[in-house]
């Protein structure tokens, strides 16, 4: 087979056809994987919620704007036999070493932290990524931010920062506090509503 010559028309047609075929192939795969990707995301969220708030039978989703920050937080109120057992808060911070970090923080109705799961982070591997290890995040378990100062020790708080990753640790605290203060606001709002009824 002779090699196609480099005339303008040939070049144009070749590129056009190759691009069109490639785009079609990409969109076919996109449609095939759309379902599984959404499913993966859903399962991840589901798993994080049950990690930080075990034992719920019913979920109620509420959106709430935090006092500081650009985006609203998502609250998943967990109910068991109609009784509120806690709240899982999807929270975030932009203060990470590489920007955005997303956490799922579980609170008991009185504000005690039950557990924390890291949903998304792009921190330095081996340093900031250690925020997902039990060694770091377990120090928050069973603590109430009303009495436990969620700030790294360097800043006068009670949190042991990750070695050589103070920025990531600070960001983690920021996300947790954003969740806690917004959680308090939400509780207050709901209590007011109940009194009004």
């Amino acid at each position: 087979m002779a090699k196609t010559e480099s005339t303008f028309l040939n070049m144009f047609l070749t590129l056009l056809i190759v691009t069109a075929v490639s785009s079609l192939a990409a969109s076919a795969v996109y449609n095939l994987t759309k379902g599984p990707i959404a499913e993966v995301q859903r399962l991840k969220l589901q798993k994080a919620i049950s990690q930080v708030m075990p034992g719920f039978t019913e979920l109620k989703k509420v959106q709430m704007m935090p006092a500081t920050g650009s985006d609203s937080l998502t609250f998943f109120e967990g109910l068991k036999d109609g009784q509120e057992i806690g709240v899982a808060v999807k929270t975030y911070t932009n203060l990470g070493y590489s920007g955005l970090i997303k956490l799922m923080v579980g609170f008991k109705p009185d504000g005690t932290i039950t557990n924390i799961e890291v949903l998304e982070q792009k921190e330095t591997p081996g340093l900031g990524t250690k925020m997902a290890t039990p060694k770091f995040k377990d120090q928050f378990m069973g603590k109430n931010p009303a009495t436990f100062k969620v700030e790294v020790k360097k800043d006068g708080g009670q949190v042991d920062a990750i070695t050589a990753a103070t920025i990531s640790s600070r960001a983690f605290c920021d996300a947790v506090m954003r969740a806690y203060t917004t959680f308090e606001q939400l509780e207050k709002k709901q209590n007011n509503q109940e009194e009004g009824e």
């Binding site: 087979m1 002779a2 090699k3 196609t4 010559e5 480099s6 005339t7 040939n10 070049m11 070749t14 590129l15 190759v18 691009t19 075929v21 490639s22 785009s23 192939a25 990409a26 795969v29 996109y30 994987t33 599984p36 990707i37 499913e39 993966v40 991840k44 998304e120 792009k122 330095t124 591997p125 081996g126 340093l127 070695t163 050589a164």
Partner: protein, 194 residues
């Protein structure tokens, strides 16, 4: 026999990382653990194999002057496929490798093989060339990842053999350069008897 040569040259004789010094960005960036190196290596292998096959099939239809853009579009299509499939079926690895998956497109190894081999050889040879080069690349990345993980985190494939923080610098960017420098010197020593 000839196919065996096409396949095996990618491991040492013409290894993309150790000998040709191609594809350095992913080599340095994602090798902070052995498993990341392996994942990146296998993703690249798939793209390399598929693009080599397609390009050797259509090589006579492409006018010479738009050769490179055409190759890149073909490669980009396969990279998109890998990206989407990994997001759906290996989400943890997909998150770890991050922006370096779309960047397989500009991995000089892939375009280099398309230009230097697939555009001149038949489909079967191109397939074995792609497979060998890709696996050689994966091997290099896994070795570097294993070394950095062992020194930097005292663990291998996630299994911790000393329960303590490692020599952090090897996980960070300076360690990537330094570890690769010594690894290349070592491979030179073994293969070329410097």
């Amino acid at each position: 026999m000839k196919q065996w040569q096409n396949f095996s040259k990618g491991f040492f004789k013409e290894n993309a990382v150790f000998v040709m010094l191609l594809g350095m960005c992913p080599t340095l960036a994602v090798t902070n653990s052995a498993i990341n190196g392996l994942g990146m290596g296998l993703a690249t292998t798939f793209v390399l194999m598929m693009s080599n096959i397609v390009i050797s099939l259509i090589k006579n239809l492409i006018p010479n002057k738009v050769r490179i853009p055409t190759f890149i579009v073909v490669i980009a299509a396969f990279v998109t496929v890998v990206d989407l499939v990994m997001a759906g079926y290996a989400p943890a690895l997909h998150e770890q490798l991050g922006i370096f998956i779309p960047l397989i497109v500009v991995n000089c190894v892939v375009l280099g093989r398309a230009e230097a081999f697939a555009s001149k050889n038949n489909v079967v040879s191109s397939f074995f060339d792609g497979l060998g080069m890709g696996l050689g690349f994966a091997m290099a990345l896994t070795m570097l990842g294993a070394i950095r993980e062992m020194l930097g985190n005292y663990s291998i494939f996630g299994w911790k053999f000393i329960n303590h923080d490692g020599i952090l610098v090897f996980i960070l960017s300076p360690g990537a350069f330094i570890a690769l420098g010594f690894l290349i010197a070592f491979v030179n020593k073994v293969t070329k008897k410097v």
